[in-house]
Each structure stands twice: as structure tokens, then as C-alpha cells.
């Protein structure tokens, strides 16, 4: 029999970016909040030995332990789903701060087009532009409605950047100036301008200068140390929940964090949650935490899995297209790129920061005419200088053997002389891409693993080929001695890292028939349950997700405070 604890106003499931923001906003609003986090406590002091590529980047020190929990994957419904036994395609966060501890900090707003993608695509190109089975839908919230929340996230995190000439209107500038322009970035900028494109410095959660945010939190400037993504920042220069929102929540005295607490079920009766059941992983004890409001911020896979395991909401049925929990899983189409080898130039490629880079959006969203291409949406094209660590970066010109004398000579020669221009492509949802519960495989507690059904489509292949050509044009202008273009996009495989930009499954929308949550992230089918994360995205844009996740979390916290007063569906 599970032990039952005294009731709280709010229980948060997972304390990463979304959970941290919710905790700060709700405790400031006077609510009594407990955060349940399956992983451990984290603090800046932990990163004394962090400049260790093997431990953090190759062995995934900070990420979820897959021996306890993973996802299963199949390309389509005719294939047997099998577990992702080792890391590859994406890396799941774990512990206080979640993946927000080891992200890069590239912080983009989605485009106005994204929020009304279906209407705007039909308006410009007609209904036939959307292929059969592509399930894009409007978000039920517009860019203009999202703008204040983006602004709030960016000020809290202290984003360093300059306005993107091809994006939606901003109510204010970024709180910090852009980061320093390294020589490769300068080359990219000159080339892009010559091609009449619109480059801008990447909006960065690595601080370009010392900064005190509106909450009064001070952080130091980024040192371009080159150990950023997959690592924690020993300077607190990278915005992460542990150095921004969580201390604010704690200061109120109304936030209790319980680490090592794996949430396993949302408890509910009569269409309302009563709390959650979790296991204290240090003792194995099952515990019930009753609460008036349950907030799910356990990242895409567990947001979906916990709803399905708890039988809350209507599961998506790919045959009929009915139900919404698990629907519209999408990802990121990351493989369009061109690598340039510079025989007579050498750069400080060992130096860098997670979001040091330059982008252009001339080929993103609907910023260009799609009449003559066989895809919709697009990609942000960029050059990045994240710090090219030696195990992970051994790029050699095509035709070079992959081992032996020639490989070694070329990999050493180009260690500081190979640059890449890459495209971060949007990913559209399809009727047959979804997350449900696996029939076979279980986690360490005997609970069912989430099952992912996903593959790349023609849309993605066309987009990749188009973007690869655009990347190569820029690289040519940059003066590379030799350019290698990315191969055409093959099937999706779960074995090589692409991005931790999994999206969909608990999507936002304006109707309970086609979405899980309304535009306050409140569940249509359980008014005191709020679900937040990239799992809310009905499709994924040509950008990294977290600015939008953060903005949605601020939006949700406004809704939750309203709900705590008045109750009922907010929309």
C-alpha cells in the first residue's frame, strides 16, 4: 500500500526548463508547490572536472540512464519496435535542470507562419500543397499572442543576440548584445551578404557579458570554453534552470524539490486529477502525493507515456485519426549541409560556445516561394562554432579512407581547417508518425516503455537536398578549397546524433477533437492537469525548440494561476 502525503496546491512532474519556470511563477503567485524529479540534485560546483569530452560527450554523464528507461523505435507499423539500447539520435535529460543543463542555448522564436501553418499554406498555395497524410494544423495561438512570453523567457535567460530581419516583430531588443564574431563567422557573414541573404548572430543563452536579469539573478559572461553542449557550465554563463528559475522558486519558501522521485501515474477520478503516484528510487517505496493541480513537465516521451499509462485523455488511433494523445510526433530534419576544407586557413576551432554562430532564415518557414519545390516550410541555415573537440571531430574530405595512414594525416591536417554550414530543417507531422505504449518492453519499475513510430518522408528528402545546395553556395562563397555536400537523406535511424528536438504527442490546439491541451496548456479532458513541453508542438519549425517551450511555460503559468482562483476550462 502506497503511503499518502499531505496535499499540496500543485505537484510538478519533472524539474527541467519547463518545470523550473512553472515552479518560479507559481510560487511567486503564492501557491504551495512540490517538484518531483527522478534524477539527482545539480549545482555549478559539480562541473570542476567538466572539460572531459570522453565522460560527458561520449559517455553521456549527464543524461538519462538507459539501462533503467528508454524508448522503443520502429520506422513503421509493419516493423517490430525495438529498444534504443544505446544513445544515438537524441539525448534525454535527467536530474534537476533536465536537458536544460546540457543544452547549447540556441534560442529562437518560431515564425508567425508556424502558428498558423495550415491556414497560411492553404492561403498562399491552395489545399493541394498539403500532401495526403500530412497532419499540420494551426496552433490555436498566434505569434502576436506568444510574443510577450518569448520576451519574458529571453529576459530571464539573458539572451545575447541581434534582431533577425526575417522573423516576427519583437516588442524589445534582446537583453544582451550578440556574442563575439569568430573568423569563420565573419567569413559566413561576408559570403551570405554577397549572396544577398540576411545573416544575423545566433540568439544565445551563453551570456555575451555579465548580466542581471529582471528576477535579480546575476550571472557571469561566457568564456567560450568549448565544452558547452552535453556539458554543464562551470561559470553559470549558460542559462540553465539551476542558475535562473529554480533559485527564484526556492527563495519564496514555497517550493519543495524531491529528487530521486520517479513519477509513475497521474491519479484521477471523474475527469480530474487527484495527485500523482511516485516511487522513491532510493528506498523503492511507492508514495501518493495529492494535489489540486498536476503539471506535467517530464519531457516529450514521459509527458505522453504518463498520460497513456494513467489512462488520462484519449489515445491517438492512427487508423481513424481520432484521439490526440501521442499524435503528431515530429522531429528535426538536420542532415542538409556542406563541409568546406580550407587548405590555406587555420581557425581556433577548439574554442567556441554552444550557441556561438550565425544564421539566416531566407529559406525558413514561408520566407521564400514554395510554388516550385516539393516541400513546405524550410530550414534555418547556419554556421556554428561550438568548440570542435578532438574525439568527436575528425572530418576528412570525401574519398579519404576512414582509418589508417591517409585518414590520420587528413584528420590532423583539417582539425582546425574544416568548416560546416548546416541546415536545421523543420519537420512536419504525419498521420502514421506517433508515440504509443510498447507491447513488450518495460522500464526498471516494470512500466511500459513509450514506442516511437517515425521515419523521414519525401518532404524531408526534398527539403534536405534543396538546403544542401543552399549551404554549398554559401560555402563556395566562403572560399573553401574543397566542398563536400551532404549525401541525400536516407531513412531515419536512431543510431547517430541529430538533435534532442523531439516534438508532439500532447499538442496544443483550438479543439478537443484534434489536440490534447488548449492554449493555456490545460488538458481538455482534465481541467486541473497542465501539460508543457515540446510535446505541445503540432509540428516542429526550422529552429531549436526551447525558446518556444519556455514561452509556453510562461503562458501556462498565467493560466494555472487563473485556474487556481476560478477553476474551469480557461478557453
Amino acid at each position: 500500500m502506497a503511503k499518502t502525503l499531505p496535499k499540496k496546491d500543485v505537484v510538478i512532474v519533472g524539474v527541467g526548463w519547463a518545470g523550473g519556470i512553472i515552479a518560479a511563477e507559481l510560487t511567486r503567485g503564492g501557491l504551495d508547490v512540490v517538484g518531483l524529479e527522478r534524477g539527482k540534485e545539480r549545482k555549478t560546483e559539480d562541473y570542476f572536472m567538466v572539460h572531459d569530452e570522453l565522460r560527458y560527450a561520449q559517455r553521456y554523464e549527464l543524461m538519462q540512464d538507459l539501462s533503467k528507461e528508454t524508448v522503443t523505435f520502429r520506422a513503421n507499423e509493419n516493423m517490430r519496435a525495438l529498444p534504443m539500447r544505446a544513445y544515438g539520435s537524441f539525448l534525454l535529460g535527467d536530474g534537476i535542470g533536465g536537458a536544460g543543463v546540457h543544452w547549447n542555448g540556441q534560442t529562437f522564436r518560431f515564425l508567425p507562419y508556424d502558428f498558423e501553418i495550415r491556414s497560411k499554406t492553404i492561403e498562399r498555395y491552395g489545399k493541394n500543397k498539403i500532401p495526403d497524410g500530412m497532419t499540420i494544423q494551426d496552433w490555436g495561438i498566434t505569434y502576436d499572442e506568444m510574443e510577450p512570453y518569448y520576451d519574458k523567457f529571453e529576459k530571464m535567460a539573458g539572451i545575447s543576440g541581434e534582431a533577425n530581419p526575417l522573423a516576427g516583430k519583437r516588442s524589445s531588443d534582446y537583453p544582451n548584445p550578440p556574442m563575439k564574431k569568430s573568423p569563420p563567422i565573419q567569413l559566413f557573414e561576408q559570403a551570405a551578404k554577397k549572396l544577398n541573404l540576411h545573416p544575423y548572430m545566433q540568439p544565445s543563452a551563453n551570456l555575451s557579458q555579465n548580466y542581471t536579469n529582471p528576477d535579480g539573478v546575476s550571472r557571469a559572461a561566457c568564456q567560450y570554453c568549448g565544452y558547452c553542449e552535453r556539458f554543464g557550465c562551470e561559470y553559470g554563463a549558460k542559462a540553465d534552470p539551476v542558475v535562473t528559475v529554480i533559485p527564484i522558486a526556492k527563495k519564496t519558501g514555497k517550493f519543495e524539490i524531491r529528487t530521486h522521485s520517479q513519477v509513475r501515474r497521474i491519479l484521477h477520478t471523474g475527469g480530474k486529477a487527484t495527485g500523482v503516484m511516485y516511487t522513491d528510487v532510493t528506498t523503492g517505496e511507492d508514495i501518493v502525493q495529492p494535489a489540486d493541480i498536476v503539471v506535467m513537465t517530464s519531457y516529450v516521451f514521459n509527458n505522453i507515456r504518463l498520460l497513456l499509462m494513467s489512462k488520462l485523455g484519449t489515445p491517438y488511433d492512427p487508423k481513424t485519426g481520432k484521439g490526440a494523445v501521442g499524435k503528431n510526433y515530429a522531429y528535426q530534419v538536420q542532415k542538409g549541409n556542406a563541409t568546406g576544407f580550407f587548405d590555406d586557413k587555420k581557425f581556433n576551432l577548439f574554442a567556441g560556445a554552444g550557441s556561438l554562430g550565425m544564421n539566416l532564415d531566407d529559406y525558413n518557414g514561408d520566407n521564400f516561394d514554395h510554388k516550385d519545390v516539393k516541400f513546405i516550410h524550410g530550414a534555418s541555415i547556419s554556421i556554428g562554432q561550438t568548440g570542435f573537440r578532438p574525439i568527436g571531430n575528425n572530418t576528412v574530405p570525401s574519398g579519404t579512407p576512414t582509418w589508417g595512414k591517409e585518414f590520420k594525416a587528413a584528420s590532423v591536417k583539417y582539425a582546425n581547417s574544416a568548416l560546416k554550414v548546416g541546415a536545421q530543417g523543420s519537420s512536419m507531422p504525419w498521420k502514421h508518425h506517433f508515440v504509443d505504449l510498447d507491447p513488450t518492453y518495460k522500464d526498471a519499475f516494470g512500466d511500459t516503455l513509450p514506442r516511437l513510430t517515425f521515419d523521414f518522408e519525401d518532404q524531408d528528402k526534398e527539403l534536405t537536398a534543396y538546403m544542401t545546395d543552399r549551404c554549398a553556395e554559401i560555402m563556395k562563397e566562403m572560399g573553401a578549397s574543397k566542398i563536400d555536400k551532404a549525401k541525400s537523406l536516407g531513412p531515419y535511424e536512431i543510431t547517430t546524433y541529430q538533435s534532442t528536438h523531439n516534438t508532439g504527442g500532447t499538442i496544443i490546439g483550438s479543439s478537443p477533437d484534434t489536440s490534447v491541451v488548449n492554449n493555456y496548456l490545460q488538458m481538455w479532458e482534465a481541467e486541473n492537469v497542465f501539460v508543457i513541453g515540446a510535446s505541445n508542438f503540432p509540428h516542429n519549425s526550422g529552429y531549436n525548440p526551447t525558446d518556444t517551450v519556455g514561452a509556453l511555460a510562461y503562458r501556462a503559468s498565467e493560466g494555472i494561476l487563473k485556474y487556481a482562483k476560478s477553476g474551469g476550462l480557461l478557453v
Partner: protein
């Protein structure tokens, strides 16, 4: 009774450990009014673009030499085996040198200690696939689904080394270590291209793992037993662990003497 391969690795290129920079260590140093706590204390603002320090290195400033035994080349207690038998070690030591051979650009895998690195890794969590999902049932999967076997890395290595010798014997009537370099390449190539018929393991899967761990051994922090004296990093102008590149990030290529995690430890 050092085997031939051992001789080579016993004589790594004599690379002097460069000095660590002398960091200020008062924790909570103030930069521009912001108190920086945490793991780095007072490292902010150090100029990383400082080759002079390395040149000026006095033996007593060298963390590997510290104190009284400054002049003597310290014994490397890391050079013993945790997992491999001596024969397995010799086979791997020979194979990794073919993957990453010594040449004009610098030391190869043997001189860098890659086989020791792999041995030590197989002895620990990685060798046991400790943080990977190894629960049944096991089914043969599609390539896109990744590794689906039940064998752990240490078991794969054990089988693969035996099979490398079996194949070497079948083709050339000698064990792998006794083959000429080009014959060794042929054996490795046969594994890489799945030309070896095996029912136990995937030859190409093993080759991929061997190649990847060779690079890891060449370039990971020397703390793990490879990248001896940071010679792997020096070869490609990689400065290792530095606290700040603020002064060079917008500059042209700048040579910086490498620094290891041990240097960082010693500085605090």
C-alpha cells in the same frame, strides 16, 4: 620479455608536460561586479593565449613532476592491465596502430597508449554496457534500430580478438600480431567489410567500435590512460582543458600549449 609492440610503446615521443598556468584560486572572485562561485572560483580573466608559460615551465611547476621528484621521469602506474590477457593486449595494440599509425604528423595509437585505454574502459561501466538498455527480449533488428545483441562490449572484444587470430591463421598461417603491416590491414579490412563469416558477433560492428575507441584513446584526457603526455592533442593543436578563450575567439589561429584535467586539479 617485452614483445616487439611493447618496445614501441615503452618509448613514447618525449613530450614535456607543459606547465599549467598559474590560476588565481581564491574562490568567489569578482569579475565585473558578478561574483562567480562554483567549480571555477577565480579562473575568469586568465589569458589563455600564453605560450610563454609553457616555455618557461620549470620542472617543479609541472604537475606530473611536482615537488621533490621533479627531475625524475615519474613511473606510469597506469601501465598495467585490468581486463585483457597479455595476448589480447598485444593483438589490440597491433590493430589500433594500423588504424591510427605513427607518421610525420606525430605518434600513433601505440605510443599514445590506446590499447591501455581500451583495456581500462572494458574493465568498467562501458565494458559492461552499464548505462545501456540490456533487458530481453532480444530480436534481430533493422540497421536503423541500432545494436540489438545481448553481448556486452567486453564479450565482443574477447570473441573478436580470437576471431582476428582465427582469420589471420586461415589466411596467412600466423597470429595477427605476427603479420606484416599490410597483412594486418587486410584482416582489419575483412572485418570492416563483413567478409569474415561469423555467427557470434558482427565483424563490422566490432570494427566500428574498435575504430571509435581508438580515436577516444588518442584524444581523451590523459587521465584515462591514452593520449600519453597529451601528445594526441599536441599533434592537432588542441589545447585540452582551458578555462577561457575570450581573448582568442575572434582572433586568427592561436597556438596554445595544452593543459589536462590533472593540471586543473593541481592548480586548485
Amino acid at each position: 620479455m617485452a614483445p616487439t609492440d611493447e618496445k614501441k610503446s615503452a618509448n613514447p615521443p618525449q613530450v614535456r608536460e607543459p606547465s599549467r598556468r598559474k590560476f588565481l584560486v581564491n574562490a568567489g572572485k569578482v569579475i565585473g561586479g558578478v561574483v562567480v562561485g562554483g567549480a571555477i572560483g577565480g579562473l575568469v580573466g586568465c589569458n589563455p593565449n600564453n605560450n610563454d608559460n609553457a616555455n618557461k615551465a620549470s620542472p617543479s611547476a609541472s604537475p606530473s613532476a611536482g615537488g621533490a621528484q621533479a627531475a625524475a621521469e615519474p613511473k606510469n602506474y597506469n601501465r598495467a592491465l585490468m581486463f585483457f590477457t597479455q595476448e589480447q593486449f598485444r593483438t589490440v595494440n597491433a590493430a589500433v596502430e594500423r588504424i591510427f599509425p605513427e607518421d610525420e604528423s606525430g605518434p600513433g595509437a601505440q605510443a599514445l597508449g590506446v590499447a591501455y585505454f581500451i583495456d581500462h574502459q572494458l574493465a568498467g561501466e562501458w565494458g559492461f554496457n552499464g548505462r545501456e538498455y540490456m533487458s530481453p527480449p532480444f530480436y534481430h533488428g533493422e540497421t536503423v534500430q541500432g545494436y540489438q545483441g545481448r553481448l556486452k562490449r567486453r564479450e565482443i572484444f574477447t570473441i573478436a580478438i580470437q576471431e582476428m587470430n582465427n582469420y589471420s591463421q586461415a589466411q596467412f598461417k600466423k597470429n595477427f600480431v605476427d603479420l606484416a603491416a599490410d597483412q594486418q590491414d587486410k584482416v582489419l579490412e575483412a572485418f570492416e567489410k563483413d567478409q569474415v563469416q561469423l555467427t557470434t558477433i558482427s565483424p563490422s560492428g566490432f570494427f566500428k567500435m574498435l575504430r571509435a575507441s581508438t580515436l577516444e584513446g588518442a584524444y581523451s584526457d590523459p587521465l584515462y590512460g591514452g593520449n600519453l603526455n597529451m601528445a594526441g592533442w599536441k599533434m592537432r593543436d588542441y589545447p585540452g582543458n582551458q578555462m577561457s578563450y575570450t581573448d582568442v575567439i575572434d582572433k586568427d589561429f592561436t597556438a596554445i600549449a595544452p593543459s589536462s584535467l590533472q593540471d586543473h586539479m593541481a592548480a586548485h
